[in-house]
């Protein structure tokens, strides 16, 4: 080993996965901070939170939950598909995941714009008239679902990037850690929603 370039491209699938998991922990804790804020304010303003949650549409929430859970399944399946060396199915499953994510975002868009049309958004005159608990509830609602939506967008970008790699055969049955990792990331998004859903939509 004399003069060739510095080798940093050693491949370690297990290491990459460990790294991804640890990154997922940081994301969980990031949301964890907001969950702490949520639980404290909910404890301090139970009635107002109750009242405010009535404003949210349980139906849209449930639909979005179903969508996310299904997308979580499809991305998980795509990992099996690549292991079975079924490239086409892998791509289809990943495509479905992205499609479902887009539907989720469209729903979210209608939900948010509905709220905003009702004059409920941070700093809005309607909200400033409301009780302090309600201001807090909607502040948290926008912050938490907003941050979650940002994660959806990142997840979609990640999956789309991996799809390209699958197309180019750079991800294959014996080399699919990055697909697995994008799946892990997507499940994280799902995991957070599993808690956001009851906390915002179901506490009426």
């Amino acid at each position: 080993m004399s003069n060739h370039a510095h080798i940093d491209e050693h491949r370690d699938d297990e290491g990459a996965k460990t790294g991804m998991w640890i990154f997922i922990f940081t994301e969980l804790i990031l949301f964890g901070g907001l969950f702490i804020v949520y639980s404290v304010y909910r404890y301090l303003n139970p009635a107002a939170f109750h009242l405010a949650a009535e404003e949210l549409d349980t139906f849209i929430g449930t639909v979005n939950t179903v969508i996310l859970l299904t997308s979580s399944m499809t991305i998980a399946m795509s990992v099996s598909a690549i292991q079975y060396q079924n490239k086409k199915l892998t791509l289809i499953l990943m495509g479905v995941t992205i499609l479902l994510a887009v539907v989720f975002m469209v729903n979210k868009y209608f939900e948010w714009s509905g709220k905003i049309a009702h004059g409920i958004y941070p700093g809005s005159p309607t909200l400033m008239e409301a009780s302090q608990g309600e201001i807090l509830f909607f502040g948290l609602y926008y912050a938490m679902t907003g941050l979650h939506a940002i994660h959806i967008i990142i997840g979609v970008a990640f999956i789309a990037y991996v799809m390209r790699l699958v197309v180019k055969d750079e991800v294959q049955h014996d080399n699919f850690t990055i697909l697995e990792n994008s799946g892990l990331y997507w499940h994280l998004v799902d995991l957070i929603w599993i808690f956001l859903f009851p906390l915002f939509y179901l506490i009426t």
């Binding site: 460990t18 179903v66 859970l69 299904t70 499940h187």
Partner: protein, 95 residues
């Protein structure tokens, strides 16, 4: 570094069953909240959310098939977070 082989392939069927279970739990929690169990509503909803996330972690995220070490880490992180919430509430509950 030697390269570990991912040998375990999860069957599609397993995933479908898990999804069905998850959806059932979702509908149950929606149903429960419309029943109005008072203070138990929240605990029931959170309990269901907890079981759902456990399923996602174990099957979708492959904790069940991976090395034990991952489960230990995940458990540790959740424990840590729970302790932090608990200690924060030592302030708010007793003010």
């Amino acid at each position: 570094m030697e390269k570990e082989q991912h040998t375990h392939i999860v069957k599609y069927k397993t995933y479908v069953f898990v999804l069905i279970a998850l959806l059932l739990m979702t509908f149950t929690s929606v149903a429960i909240t419309s029943l109005n169990l008072g203070p138990y509503t929240v605990s029931a909803a959170l309990l269901l959310a907890g079981s759902k996330s456990l399923l996602v972690l174990l099957i979708f995220m492959h904790l069940k098939f991976d090395k034990k070490f991952y489960s230990i880490m995940v458990g540790g992180v959740f424990l840590l977070f729970a302790s932090v919430i608990f200690i924060t509430f030592l302030d708010y509950l007793y003010r």
